[in-house]
Point group: C2
Chain length 569, copies 2
């Protein structure tokens, strides 16, 4: 540890720096230049860019030096791996700062889930900022593992690594002036707070109201009009390129067409799978793609670094300049974003895109054994049909939106009888042991047997689909015993299972194992009848999300998102 | 007062806004556009930009709506008028936010001076942010009315309207790692603090060290190289256009040549006289001049608004967008910066560049009667000449730098005897009643009689120049009685005087009166012999400043700035 005076003496060149990256091409996010220089580091900080000698010198001739990349909005849980594993993988691709909203674990484990993330934030070799989830649960049409109101959120305000309030998805509540929503926003209304948004298609005066309420970002833009309106209203547009939603190209093209410049754009992934991170990169991919689209090289790096840092008030992040943290990405090629090595606080964490070596944390017991179904019986899946025409959830290949079909269902003794066309779908409260469940009908999966999961956005209740009650029951029972995960059952036999013991969302195995298992289970699901153009586990994980049209099922019933009401079979 | 829900309802257009500026051309600092729209205001905030109806509607068809301007670095005291008068005058020219460093009053009255500014900041109809003076006194070669070390500075940290630490002029101390300097910087090293710089000609590794120490602005740039180095090092360049120092043109041309864009530039005045503000404008002039130099119109307004707001962390200032404070400048012409009216928090404060009507504050007694000389006698001005050649301060027409002449002085009975070429100059400690004084010789003023002042940067001791001890004594005595100001005495008679009762720096009269008086006194000074090309009161106010070459006089002696040592006559 150097004291301030010694740091300054080293910056002056009166004394050697600890580490000097010699003779690199420094990407300067302030001047927009790329400048040949040495970067001197001491005590985890950049102390100077210029001509320096170091106790340790690293020759980076011909290479580029960029600031560590910032993912300005993401949910780590979507990767189904632990924060340690996730950070290990994204560091390999140059991301040293994460603005993470742990709303998945919060929906399952409430404040214990957030505390786990905050504990990891302190420990992990990256800048992990936590946005406190604003919407737990996401809607009143479902029960989640926790309900977090303004009072419970306020506990986290001002805590180390807390950067503000997470994406306010309830834009309807905001613009209606719902008092419980406004109370949450008020908690984070200080001059140094941030509130993230999520407001697809919101515009005009409603967008003004949403921004007035203190919300300053949106990562849900997909159209030129959305980009234009948000930038004009003073919001940052977070250009998202994740596994499901890929909006970067549209946003960059919109900005180019609008002629706004890139000052108000930052990069995010929202949800990105480990496999895709490994094959395509993380924020590094956003940079590369932006450059391919004609963005000037340094502007592309600015969107990945200083633009986000400045927005969120991370004063020591996002630049290679004196007084900034020594989070550095050394690149063989700046245009193609070919990464040579990644450094966090002046220490090397990855080379050749190899995962960083990070020890796993012990998972707090509150995040384990989160599946509590209660008494089970085959009767629970019986579905009486009372109407002539009953609403059916129709799965659409390659989409997460669903359709509503009103059909005359096959019936036996007054109860729905599944066939090749229609199967049962049930969502069971998995938190309180109430056995509270709702049963519906799904079409498009042509499933024979049962598939069950505890990953079901955003409340993550237990969802099971099947063509017979016995397999469905077996799947639920076994999943409860596992503590959550994905499972496939046929003829009373467990064909394969993926345990996700942490909140029923996250594996404690290496992410590569998890991915391999999921690929294998997808193949088995195909044999069970799921068509080639439907991803069985992604599809199931969205069937309970009552904010995406059209028909959904939650633990409280079958819900028509357009009509905003529950329906009867 | 509207509550949040009502504000949102009004933003939604469900209810009329309080005030709507109808059909203006809104200067959008985020998109870089100028957009035809209504601006809706409620409770001092902008609630929406779009289509709105208001309880009160103001037609601004054909006019432009800009955010209120920000002066990112200034000293109000330099105007010799009270904060109330000063704010009244700058509001008329569109400046609604001031980042003021009260280091003049702090040098005289220490924390009482700062408290006065903070009290005014709360009261005045503008956003007055105070940077706590970092250099009181400016150098160890003089005594000022107060000494403020880190501990005394720390008292102000976190106080309302305090935005950080004022210009760190002691760049030598910073780069040398001087512990008392580093302690002051440490007080304001938090993530939400700002530290302003002042580092003419500093460059290379020394600039790195200066930036590393936490200093993030510089308003002393005059050359392309200085601009380039500061921007690259991550500092904001504050383009200054004041009464004495006019650097805007050079800086804008440098940025254009460098191709950096204007993101890292903000505007300031540093020191600007009321007369010049009235005739040329304030920050409005910086905008106009920048546009004349070819800066795109909206970029010019950005430098005057959002760039500064973003740098200092004023999250609700600097833009016309929902969630921003309704500080608005309505313009008849955006390119020529022709101001129609100025609005602070939604209320009109000026029209047709008329001064805003603001009540004066009662001046705290600690800021009055600050001139305390002690026992006076004609003997105090006797100057024994011991050397063959004695150093003389040579005043240069049109400059504040001086020259050193080593001459054989006219002597009578071993004492210096003034003549037309050489007069006496004395600096007397005006704070402690010690009678501590130093006497030297000045050339170039050809003064007959005596001129005295309590404005003497930065310590503001009492400075008197004369060709005879009697007039000098009379001037000092009378100035003490006045409580400070400027005075002209000849043949024992007070020819004219300008009382500056507040800290001996500031008049309590209308600034127009002060200016008229100063112009009149300048004419009298001409009749007393001061050449046409020397401004008598500006010149005297800098003769005691031991940081500008070459020869100066402080209350501690005659000081050679280049040799950094005191000299004997």
């Amino acid at each position: 540890m150097s004291d301030r005076a010694e740091m300054i003496a080293r910056a002056m060149g009166k004394k050697k720096a600890e580490t000097v990256f010699k003779n690199g091409n420094v990407i300067n996010v302030f001047s927009g230049e790329c400048i040949r220089a040495d970067v001197a580091v001491c005590d985890g900080m950049i102390i100077g860019v210029g001509n320096y000698e170091g106790e340790k010198e690293i020759d980076v001739s011909g290479k580029y030096i960029a600031p560590g990349f910032i993912d300005s909005h993401l949910h780590i849980e979507s990767s189904m791996t632990t924060p340690a594993n996730f950070v290990s993988r994204v560091l390999a691709h140059g991301t040293t700062t994460l603005v993470a909203d742990p709303h998945e674990v919060a929906n399952v484990s409430g404040k214990e889930g957030i505390e786990f993330m905050l504990a990891e934030a302190k420990r992990l070799p990256c800048n992990l900022f936590v946005m406190i989830p604003s919407c737990v649960p996401a809607t009143p049409f479902e029960s989640s593992g926790a309900v977090m109101n303004a009072e419970e959120i306020a506990v986290f305000k001002g805590r180390e690594n807390v950067a503000g309030l997470g994406e306010m998805m309830n834009f309807v509540g905001v613009t209606a002036g719902d008092s419980s929503v406004l109370e949450k926003l008020k908690v984070f209304s200080g001059d140094h707070d941030n509130i993230d948004g999520h407001a697809p298609r919101l515009g005009g005066n409603a967008l003004n109201a949403y921004r007035l309420a203190g919300i300053t970002t949106d990562h849900e833009c997909t159209t030129e009009d959305e980009v234009a309106q948000r930038v004009r209203a003073g919001m940052m547009v977070l250009a998202r390129e994740g596994s499901a939603a890929k909006n970067l190209t549209a946003i960059i093209k919109a900005v180019q067409k609008l002629g706004f410049g890139y000052e108000r754009i930052a990069f995010c992934t929202d949800d990105k799978h480990i496999e895709e991170i490994r094959s395509c990169g993380h924020i590094s991919y956003n940079i590369k793609r932006a450059i391919e689209l004609g963005v000037p090289v340094v502007d592309a790096y600015k969107m990945a670094t200083i633009n986000a840092a400045r927005h969120y008030g991370f004063k020591k992040l996002g630049a290679v300049a004196p007084g900034y943290q020594a989070d550095l990405v050394i690149l063989d090629d700046a245009e193609k974003v070919k990464i040579h090595s990644v450094w966090y606080c002046g220490g090397k964490v990855s080379e050749n895109c190899e995962p960083a070596v990070i020890e796993e944390a012990e998972i707090p017991s509150a995040l384990l054994n989160t599946v509590n179904i209660g008494e089970l019986s085959p009767e629970m899946f019986k579905l009486p049909v009372r109407n002539q025409l009953s609403p059916v959830i129709k799965v659409i290949p390659g989409e997460i939106v669903t359709e509503r079909e009103d059909v005359s269902l096959p019936v036996e003794n007054g109860y729905f009888k599944p066939n090749k066309e229609y199967q049962k779908i049930a969502v069971i409260d998995r938190y309180r042991g109430t056995g509270e469940a709702s049963i519906g009908v799904v079409a498009g999966l042509t499933l024979s047997g049962a598939i069950a999961a505890t990953v079901g956005h955003d409340s993550h209740n237990l969802l099971v689909i099947g063509d017979n009650d016995e397999d469905m029951l077996a799947a639920v029972k076994q999943l409860e015993q596992l503590g959550g995960g994905f499972i496939l059952v046929k003829d009373g036999e467990v064909l394969e299972q993926l345990p996700l013991p942490v909140c029923g969302l996250i594996s404690d195995a290496a992410p590569e194992e998890t991915e391999a298992k999921l690929r294998y289970m997808t193949e088995i699901a195909r044999k069970m009848g799921v068509p080639e153009d439907i991803e069985p586990f992604i599809t199931t994980s969205f069937l309970a999300l009552p904010v995406i049209p059209r028909l959904r099922i939650t633990n409280k019933g079958i819900f028509d998102v357009v009509e905003q009401r529950f329906l009867e079979i």
